[in-house]
Symmetry: C2
Subunit: 138 residues, 2 copies
């Protein structure tokens, strides 16, 4: 599993460091989305807060994880499963946030419908976030 993670880092021209391996590993073994605070909890006192911020930022830039906007103004991060590239994400799937348990699901098989914008408007990114209760909490 570590080799797996290291491969991803190398493929993206990133130095393989302990924090990056550890954080990427967390995403791999946690098929929901993670907030900055979640990562801080899971990694304990192991890494500095600043390192986590910078690592997440790097991962987003490289197209390894994508961000998910939420109604309550907290940023969530989840692994990219599509062929995302630096500066150009393709995670056009719907996200579901459970109000009860807090879990965020990447609904990979549900693609975001095409929106026909008013004349002159150019789309570069679309987020479709549904919140409510998940199957376990309903």
């Amino acid at each position: 599993m570590n080799t797996d993670v290291s491969e991803i880092l190398k493929r993206n021209q990133l130095s393989v460091t302990e924090s990056r391996r550890r954080i990427l590993d967390l995403f791999k073994n946690n098929n929901g989305a993670l907030a900055h605070a979640d990562i801080e909890k899971h990694t304990g006192e192991q890494f500095d807060r600043v390192t986590i911020y910078r690592t997440l930022q790097t991962f987003v830039e490289k197209g390894i994880v994508h961000t998910i906007p939420t109604a309550d103004n907290s940023v969530l991060y989840a692994l990219c499963k599509d062929d995302c590239e630096p500066g150009h994400h393709h995670d056009n799937h719907i996200h579901f946030i459970c109000d009860q348990c807090g879990t965020t699901y990447c609904l990979d098989h549900l693609t975001i419908p095409q929106v026909s914008l008013p004349h002159g408007f150019r789309e570069t990114r679309t987020d479709l976030v549904v919140s409510g209760k998940c199957d376990k909490c309903a």
Copy 2:
């Protein structure tokens, strides 16, 4: 225009205070969305930061304005045009955020398409936010 604004406040069982009139007026004369910082700028040193926070919170609760989630983790507020009620918003329209000029548009005539969720998932709120370049910046 002030009477207009006062009416809205009274209709929602809110005391008519200067800060509430002023802030609601801002929304009326600004048909995009406003961030907390925007309001702080427009009203100058007139009101305390805390008052603005509390006023926005009150407006959201009463269904006078609604929030718009953004990819960059900043909360935006916009006037409700539909028949929103306390604790129950009906602003199911698409939002567009221009990366260039920063303007946020409520695309009232574009309703959010129905999403068929996996079995057991219950929807309570759906946000569809498109970002890119608006007609003025394209």
